[in-house]
Subunit: 403 residues, 2 copies
Amino acid sequence: MKQLKNRNPAVPGFKAAGLDCGIKNDNIKDLALIISEVPAAAAAVFTKNRVVSPGVTWSRRALAKSGSCRAVIVNSGNANAVTGAKGLKDCDAITKKVAAELGIPQKEVFIASTGIIGVPLPSEKILKATPKLVSKLGKSANCWTDASEAIMTTDLISKSDRISYSFKGQRIVLGGITKGSGMIHPNMATMLGFIFTDAVIDSKTLKKALTEAADRSFNRITVDGDNSTNDCVAILANGKAKNAPIKSGTPAYREFLKALTKLCKNLASKIVLDGEGATKFVTVRVQGGKTRKQAYLIANSVATSSLVKTALFGEDPNWGRIFCAVGNAGTPFNPDKVDILLNKNLLLKNGSPTNLSQKKLEKVMKQHEIDITIDLKCGKEWEEVLTCDLSYDYVKINAEYTT
Amino acid sequence: MKQLKNRNPAVPGFKAAGLDCGIKNDNIKDLALIISEVPAAAAAVFTKNRVVSPGVTWSRRALAKSGSCRAVIVNSGNANAVTGAKGLKDCDAITKKVAAELGIPQKEVFIASTGIIGVPLPSEKILKATPKLVSKLGKSANCWTDASEAIMTTDLISKSDRISYSFKGQRIVLGGITKGSGMIHPNMATMLGFIFTDAVIDSKTLKKALTEAADRSFNRITVDGDNSTNDCVAILANGKAKNAPIKSGTPAYREFLKALTKLCKNLASKIVLDGEGATKFVTVRVQGGKTRKQAYLIANSVATSSLVKTALFGEDPNWGRIFCAVGNAGTPFNPDKVDILLNKNLLLKNGSPTNLSQKKLEKVMKQHEIDITIDLKCGKEWEEVLTCDLSYDYVKINAEYTT
């Protein structure tokens, strides 16, 4: 499938490095480090799964204590999840080592992992590689590519983006890297995202902005409907732009949120475009909702329906499955008011089929980007969920690997 | 996959017939009629989808009015769903015709449909075939097979069962036919079930028993997590057994409920065994729950996880995906107390992996029947959800057909 262009995510005052420390076979990069040269405000959002990796527990605690962060260490190939007491000890040892090598407080190190679960993390490999990783920070033109490659699992391509804007003459830069939510070879979906900005903004406001942006982007994508034990998105703001501090509810905040949301949405779209086995990029938009929750439940029901997703893969203009998934969302609405559009073609009006020709419909279904719009016509709220189709390759990737 | 044996579902005082009325191509049976020779108490449970077929609307209303039913008319090949005003008119015309041919009140006819949605029902074919269908009632040794075949869609085999028991010297018989929840070629999942008994029991008590039995059977199976516009299970009790009326809360009720639940569970298991593309029969049991709801949410999360289902298809002993799905159920529990067993082999104890050998695990995964037991160890409630794996054939069946 056509991919979105990767932009170099470099942001003033941040440095990156990535290398192969030996967790994965075949000399594939599996360890990334990103640091801020100066103290940075930080915030993060984590998985809603009740089973979380020790890395999530560690990072959540550290952020709660400090509200700031200087370094992000991430390994791929092993999720360090369901690893008993050793898991948290490994997090402690690694963050301690990174802190020592960088000369920063341990609580300012954020740690994340992705890969197989239930297998003890070979932390000795990470500890051994840390000095070399630190020495490589920002030393090569490819350092951001190295870092974004080192967090990949079943991702086919690395994912990064950058955006900048000016507010009252001040230029602010935001950059980010992410990895996919298609399930991880050989285990499960993990979505990781790391965002960096030179804006001056405190950690509380940063958390608010990240939460809002994630709810319009990372929390609105679905490849297979699963939340992993390790999902997280973190943001660091190092203040190098020297703008007037961004305060919640101000025009400066709204501009920042707009840029952050756009960056997050671009990164999230890259995940869907690289979804396991995906051949279609699908936007499910529910509009005319009474509440955002109603709109979200319906959009999510359509976007996670195996029936809808296999029909999209088969290019079968089967709008009945879409309407059925709308009805299955577990939220009330009036079926006799619903309109459904497929790439702007009206399929269903007030709950009844239109006489759109089968030929026209088949042509629409052959496109790579499919927009499904569902208008409930009972209010003004909307939600969008991005997804992909369900293909043979999805089953292949997830069934054929034997641990 | 190995199937459960079909038993002849004949029950004293009921007659059946099935034929090809021309909705489907290739002379495949698509119209069934089952009648009770005498008035019968009746009850039904319907889909929770907010979009329902006119047949569901019609039958729900008729049952609410009368509480009794003499005839059940069912067509396959066309779901008569999302068919606008014509849909309800068709139900009216068909039930009127069936009532006239049988000499019974129209409100005592139950109607159900399954098949493609969004296409007007060719009701004239049903109307034309009704006299012949009525004349065939009970006339051949195969009449119950004819009826159970006539309600099939993507089902590979017809499904019926029968059970009898004695209570205080009185023999009571229950029989039933059902069709599958694997999505219907070319459209969506519809599960239909029709149960007949000669017990003396009023419609209110019958409704209570059916609701309880369905919550341990038909409502606890999942092939792809979708609820169709047409799902229903109906039960007719004609009193031919002349037992003392079964009243709620009595030993007689408990015996009846036990038999009904067993029958429903057998029929529901047949649906899973014949699930689209299924190669494994999977029972997800959550025990030690604080509430039934908690146990159900967790069992359902595991049973509907695409990650778990593809791992089962691939015979990958990937218990991490199971634990992840447990955590994803959206209900609180203590991860450090959870045990997980696979066909009685302990995989996870108190949230940590046991050292069960990989070889042993691989052997377990090769079996056709997989029991996943999750013990929350925080109470006494339990729930079981039956499911199957997610295979290439599931995607093939649901993607390759183009309407």
